[in-house]
């Protein structure tokens, strides 16, 4: 696609978006809620097409995609979408006639005429939400698909068009090479930009954006798990199963994938048992939802980190490597809390720490990059520990097994979902 073509598409979307302004929020939520319901249906045309086409571009196997979608979309209902809009924009219905009252003011939340959405990665759910969020705000969308996933945005756009042709005319795609600065400049002529991607991508976009242009960005993040380890005699198999699900889904390529499980407790056997249980469950996950092939660089990183762990073990440290014959999954029980590389692709480190103070100390260096933390086993300390995680920088604390199914309203990056894409204004009386 050329810069001129992108400009033309933006122009067309700007025109189409004007018709969108006349439609009510309740109407749009009804259509987009129905679209979500369609996506939740495993037998829908869109789900079937996605499951058929996504493996070729992402490397994810079909069973993994099916399990990941089923798990993540279960809570993404039309009701949840309405609740999200209500929470952030005010009560649906009231919003139209009398937007959210705040004492003697009327607060208006209006979408920009056009929103450019720069997509990243290969996981369908963030793409789905990134595309419908501006539409809720009556902003037309021009999306640049991620190189690894040209499939999801196309199918989401088609599903919207099928549900509502007029709404479908307000979303279009602009596939181009991410290094093409001229195309990026054209895309950035949109009124608002919502981008996900690496820190380098975000920095490049910021450098090209107009002064004062609304640019909402989600950079790379990591997630963690922390569990109070029971003794070996009372190991919780169900816990390892749920953690394995968090690790296996999307092969740790999403920001909600844990890269470290902190085993909190002063009994070493607890961490050892957890590592063994995790290994068994990841082996089971491999049978149910095979990871699939990885590129040579990913394989090299896994092999290197395994070998380095083996050497630490050979040097007498209490390090244990559990792994498959191939690079399909790896569990490394570490002897210390030093931060080490995360090769991803189902490579997890179990890091023993003695107590909560040591846990927070170990997590602190990751505070600025934290997305979510899964907590379990802390009893009546769970609430205060969860608050500490939020203060550290996490935007979500949940139970193991739930990391990959965030609610629609999850404040990713510590922000609201819809409001950052809107212009707010007060009408004072």
């Amino acid at each position: 696609m050329t810069p001129d073509e992108i400009s033309q598409r933006l122009g067309s979307l700007r025109d189409a978006g004007q018709r969108l302004k006349r439609r009510s929020l309740a109407d749009l939520l009804g259509v987009l809620g129905a679209v979500l319901d369609t996506w939740r249906d495993p037998n829908s045309q869109w789900r079937r097409e996605l499951e058929a086409e996504l493996p070729a571009t992402t490397g994810f196997g079909t069973p993994l995609i099916q399990r990941g979608l089923e798990h993540a979309l279960a809570g993404w209902t039309s009701r949840a979408l309405s609740d999200l809009a209500t929470r952030e924009l005010g009560a649906v219905g009231e919003h139209e006639a009398a937007p959210r009252h705040e004492t003697a003011r009327l607060r208006m939340a209006a979408g920009f005429d056009t929103t450019a959405v720069v997509l990243a990665g290969a996981i369908p759910m963030p793409t789905l939400l990134s595309l419908i969020a501006p539409l809720i705000l009556r902003s037309a969308v021009l999306a640049k698909p991620a190189s690894r996933d040209p499939v999801t945005p196309r199918l989401v756009a088609c599903s919207i068009a099928e549900a509502d042709a007029e709404l479908g005319s307000c979303i279009d795609l602009a596939p181009f090479d991410g290094n093409d600065t001229a195309c990026i400049r054209s895309l950035l002529r949109a009124d608002c930009v919502y981008a996900t991607g690496s820190d380098a991508t975000i920095a490049a976009l910021r450098s090209l954006a107009r002064p004062g242009q609304r640019l909402v960005a989600d950079g790379h993040r990591v997630s963690l798990a922390a569990v109070a380890t029971p003794s070996r005699e009372n190991s919780v198999t169900d816990l390892a199963e749920r953690l394995a699900l968090d690790i296996a889904l999307w092969n740790q390529l999403g920001c909600l994938s844990p890269i470290i499980v902190f085993a909190v407790g002063d009994e070493p056997s607890g961490a050892e048992a957890l590592a063994e249980d995790l290994a068994r469950e990841l082996q089971r996950a491999e049978k149910m939802w095979p990871r699939g092939a990885v590129d040579a660089a990913a394989g090299r990183d896994i092999a290197r980190e395994r070998a380095e762990a083996e050497l630490r073990s050979a040097a007498g440290r209490r390090v244990v490597v559990h792994c498959s014959d191939s690079t399909a999954w790896t569990v490394v029980l570490e002897a210390d809390a030093e931060l080490r590389p995360a090769p991803l692709h189902r490579f997890i480190r179990v890091v023993p720490v003695n107590d909560q103070a040591a846990l927070l100390s170990a997590m602190r260096p990751l505070g600025g990059q934290l997305a979510a933390v899964a907590l379990e086993g802390f009893g009546d300390r769970a609430d205060s520990l969860g608050r500490a995680m939020l203060e550290l920088g996490a935007s979500r604390v949940c139970r193991p097994g739930c990391l990959q199914s965030p609610p629609l309203s999850w404040p990713r990056g510590g922000r609201a979902v819809l409001l950052p894409l809107a212009r707010l204004g007060d009408l004072e009386r």
């Binding site: 092939a293 990885v294 040579a296 660089a297 394989g299 090299r300 990183d301 896994i302 092999a303 290197r304 070998a307 380095e308 083996e310 050497l311 630490r312 073990s313 050979a314 040097a315 191939s326 690079t327 590389p341 090769p343």
Partner: protein, 370 residues
């Protein structure tokens, strides 16, 4: 040479190979020496022994040198890998790293093999026209001298090369961490005027520094046709990066040295031997990395741990007989593929921490360019 009789015996045979005037890639000889060295290191380096046992490989069960377990280069940051008593340590070379990262250490009880390996290899691939040990060439080194950077294997290598192969006027052009641009430029202009070829050696980042200086001054130097560049290393942690193709284009534009006379060296602190681009040695053949007979490269499929199919990309593993004091099998952080009798580096991944020893030198240069 080492005080251990068994090690001295192996060292002696490896040194004899290194000192032979003609290179002979004798597979049986390499196999014999590699397995003997493996057995020695298995016995004398406890960490390596346990590592190999964990991999199910011992001197009595191993099925050839290609199966010797390779230690990841990054391990030198966390464990001491030496096959001699710690009190026998005479030198320590440190790997590159940023101010926030841990640097690995290579412990050595002798530099004899290191130097015996580097010289004939350097001469063969950077100065293939040298036919006698007395031949010399003008060499300018864009790196600190070894007395200013004693823990840099790169500076040590350049020091040896300069002392043994450098003609009058050869010198280091980094002093106290600062590239001596004026002195170097004067020398380069004289070389151009007198049609005297010069060999410029240094890290890729040092050449970027030099190019930036010359461009700022609006200076283009047309060095004589027989001049050459030997560059090594990447840009880890540097604020300014330049892809190799762009660097080579700039070297041609600013210094007049075309790509076919630019040799990339592939080496790292943890290795006693180095590999070089074939361009000067075999100019009519595809560019590839070649090394000496006593160091071999195997491309490993990381998913299987076995040798990758011909032409497929895998992890570069080096088996280096010059590494008698540490471990002979090293798993690099780089990907590569076999090309004819050599290999090519496919690209140093963003996760790779081992990038040769160039960055330590670059850090010093970086002082001038915050």
């Amino acid at each position: 040479m080492s005080g251990d009789p068994g090690r001295s015996e192996i060292d002696g045979r490896v040194l004899a190979w290194m000192r032979e005037p003609e290179w002979n890639y004798d597979e049986a000889r390499f196999e014999q020496l590699a397995l003997e060295l493996f057995a020695f290191q298995f016995e004398h380096c406890e960490v390596f022994r346990r590592f190999c046992e964990g991999r199910g490989q011992t001197p009595s069960t191993i099925e050839g040198w290609r199966r010797i377990p390779a230690v990841p280069a990054g391990a030198f940051k966390e464990v001491e890998l030496r096959s001699f008593p710690s009190e026998a340590t005479t030198h320590r070379f440190r790997t590159s790293g940023t101010s926030t990262s841990v640097r690995g250490t290579l412990h050595l009880d002798t530099l004899e093999l290191y130097e015996a390996s580097l010289l004939p290899t350097f001469r063969r691939f950077v100065f293939p026209e040298m036919t006698t040990p007395l031949d010399r060439a003008a060499i300018r080194v864009l790196a600190p001298p070894p007395d200013q950077e004693p823990d840099s294997s790169l500076s040590h290598m350049f020091g040896v090369a300069l002392a043994e192969l450098g003609a009058a006027g050869s010198s280091f052009d980094v002093d106290d961490g600062v590239l001596q641009v004026d002195l170097l430029l004067t020398s380069l202009v004289e070389s151009a005027a007198s049609e005297s070829p010069v060999a410029l050696c240094g890290t890729a980042f040092a050449f970027v520094h030099l190019i930036d200086h010359l461009v700022r001054r609006g200076v283009l130097v047309g060095l004589p046709p027989a001049s050459r560049v030997m560059e090594t290393g990447g840009f880890k942690g540097r604020s300014r990066e330049m892809p190799p193709a762009a660097l080579y284009a700039e070297l041609k534009r600013v210094l007049g040295i075309p790509a076919e006379r630019i040799v990339n060296q592939y080496g790292m602190t943890e290795l006693g031997s180095q590999f070089y681009d074939s361009v000067l040695r075999a100019p009519s053949e595809p560019r590839r990395k070649l090394g000496p007979p006593w160091a071999r490269v195997v491309i490993i499929d990381p998913d299987t741990g076995h040798e990758a199919a011909t032409g497929h990309v895998g992890t570069i593993v080096v088996i280096d007989l010059a590494n008698t004091g540490s471990v002979l099998a090293l798993q690099t952080g780089d990907l590569g593929r076999a090309v004819l009798d050599g290999f090519e580096v496919v690209g140093r991944g963003p996760g790779a921490e081992e990038r040769g020893c160039s960055i330590a030198a670059d850090e010093l240069l970086g002082r001038e360019f915050p």
